[in-house]
């Protein structure tokens, strides 16, 4: 069973998947305690992709997990042709609960930020996207600021005096965030290609000041001053570009 909705421009989609892993809790309202903001699931359909893709949880409400996904990847290709979604998780560590944090997101990076803000009722948030269509799809608390290009999240956020900051978004945005907030208590939610999602295969390596760590097992949220090179994730994240072209060829 799946339920989904695309943004008007087709760039993003929200996917709902029933989540019935009650753990030991009999009361379904307790389910929320098993999944924390910052954690992710490995997601696929019965027909593919071969390697499930990691997606951060956007929301968990009434036994329904919600994911915010950027379209154009291989997952979406299979998703369109399958009525069922298979999830495995949750994996990864929860985002640290900070006091009065400033939350920053760009594009699909809004997923963990949204879940974090909803769960802990945080209100100081700047959410960036390429255009308005994004904001017609996702829900953004009225207390937060939304930006669309050419205005960026950081054009607004740089004026915030808050000490604690968490950011998730495209690599160039994270690089700039690390630069602007280098003297604050900044955390970055990182992305890297994963295969197992559970710390075995050592594929999602990230260089930190205390040696090699793994985005799945040690992250995905890291203190910014621990990360050696934020830009290292560039080419991994841009891989979608090839898949988009293949998808375009098929549509013609």
């Amino acid at each position: 069973m799946k339920d989904f909705k695309y943004s008007k421009d087709g760039e993003f989609l929200l996917v709902d998947v029933p989540y019935d892993d009650f753990g030991s809790a009999k009361d379904t309202s307790k389910i929320r305690e098993n999944v924390f903001p910052g954690q992710f699931f490995m997601v696929k359909t019965p027909v593919g992709p071969y390697v499930p893709r990691p997606f951060s949880v956007y929301d968990l409400k009434d036994g329904m997990l919600r994911f915010l996904i950027k379209s154009g990847g291989e997952f979406e290709h299979f998703f369109k042709n399958s009525s069922k979604i298979v999830i495995d998780g949750p994996f990864g560590n929860p985002m640290p609960i900070l006091e009065h944090p400033l939350l920053l997101s760009g594009g699909a990076g809004y997923a963990p930020i949204h879940f974090y803000a909803m769960r802990y009722e945080f209100k100081e948030m700047v959410v960036g996207a390429r255009d308005e269509a994004f904001f017609e799809l996702v829900d953004v608390p009225t207390s937060s600021v939304s930006t669309v290009e050419p205005t960026t999240v950081l054009d607004v956020a740089k004026f915030s005096p808050l000490e604690n900051v968490i950011a998730c978004g495209p690599v160039p945005m994270l690089e700039k965030t690390a630069e602007i907030f280098k003297d604050r208590n900044l955390y970055l939610v990182m992305e890297e290609k994963m295969a197992c999602g559970r710390g075995m295969c050592e594929g999602c390596a990230i260089m930190t000041k205390s040696g090699i760590k793994f985005v799945c097992k040690d992250g995905p949220t890291f203190p910014a001053n621990e990360i050696m090179d934020v830009s290292a994730g560039h080419s991994a994240v841009e891989e979608n570009s090839n898949e988009q072209i293949e998808d375009h060829d098929q549509r013609r």
Binding site: Y50, A195, C201, S235, E239, N242
Partner: protein, 302 residues
């Protein structure tokens, strides 16, 4: 009677499914998802003389029906392995320890230090992601010296893991003549992909090893070739297994044990179902696993 049982060089495996070296690490996380008693054997990640950080990220690229990896033998080195990891390897499955290095001395030293902790040793001559000059298996003389050096240090069965990018029959001949007992066919095949937007490779190291069902027919053929050339040499068939049917196919081609790599990594909980599926197949065919090994070389099932 257990139809899945197979004995190789005096070591009994309760079923022919062996977890390949790499994707399941040293088992710490892996065995949270299944009991070691459900699989025939478990191969550790390759251990080297010194700790290795592995390659710079990105290390993984998704491809249709598979993936390319460039991990680079990241491991804590023999010192930590022999003191903290090896003694804890589960004894309810057959323990295969994979070793890697540069010289015959590296390999023989590792052999002496780990042999008490395992049921078989696997000599990794074919990791595509470490040596700038190529895999060790490309050098017949060096391969021979390494295998002979290990042979002198242990009586336990020696597996040699060969490369699918080179002549598999020739590599198997060198391994057999140098004292190897079993051939693992094969490591991942080398490949790459480029980002069409930037014109650059996705992997920092350009090339990586392809695994997953995309390359199963290639390895199946190589298993067949080795079995045809050396009918008495036991083979571990490794490459792209995702179902019990794949396991049976490998046995038909000539594999006595069947490795599971990428699938163990992405769906560890699904492994027992693969084992069960092979059991059901054998029951339906009224055969034992040992009977179907190499069936393709005898004109199929009798």
């Amino acid at each position: 009677m257990n139809k899945l049982k197979i004995t190789i060089k005096g070591v009994e495996f309760k079923n022919p499914i062996v977890i390949a070296s790499g994707p399941a690490g040293f088992g710490e996380e892996f065995f949270e998802y299944l009991s070691p008693s459900e699989i025939g054997g478990f191969t550790t990640k390759t251990v080297t003389p010194f700790p290795k950080d592995g390659n710079k990220p990105p290390r993984i690229v998704y491809v249709r029906s598979g993936l390319l990896n460039s991990i680079g033998l990241q491991n804590p080195g023999i010192k930590i392995f022999e003191s903290r990891i090896a003694p804890k390897l589960p004894k309810t499955t057959r323990r295969i320890i994979s070793i890697g290095g540069e010289s015959p001395d590296d390999f023989s030293d590792l052999t002496s230090r780990i042999e008490e902790f395992c049921d078989m040793l696997e000599i990794n001559l074919s990791c595509p992601n470490v040596h700038s000059k190529g895999v060790i298996a490309a050098d017949g003389k060096l391969s021979k010296d390494i295998i002979s050096a290990c042979r002198e240090r242990t009586n336990k069965p020696l597996i040699v893991k060969i490369s699918p990018d080179l002549n598999v029959v020739e590599q198997s001949r060198v391994a057999k003549e140098s004292g190897a007992d079993i051939i693992n066919v094969a490591n991942s095949i080398q490949g790459t992909r480029f980002n069409v937007e930037t014109g650059q490779p996705f992997l920092k190291r350009i090339n990586g090893g392809l695994s997953g069902p995309a390359f199963m027919p290639i390895i199946l053929w190589k298993v067949y070739q080795v079995k045809e050339a050396f009918p008495d040499l036991p083979i571990i068939g490794l490459g792209g297994v995702t179902t019990s049917r794949d396991v049976v196919e490998y046995a038909i081609a000539g594999a006595s044990l069947v490795g599971v790599g990428a699938e163990a990594m992405i769906n560890p909980k699904g492994i027992p179902a693969i084992v069960r599926g092979v059991g059901e197949f054998l029951k339906r065919k009224k055969m034992n696993f040992e009977d179907i090994v190499g069936a393709a070389h005898k004109g199929g099932f009798e």
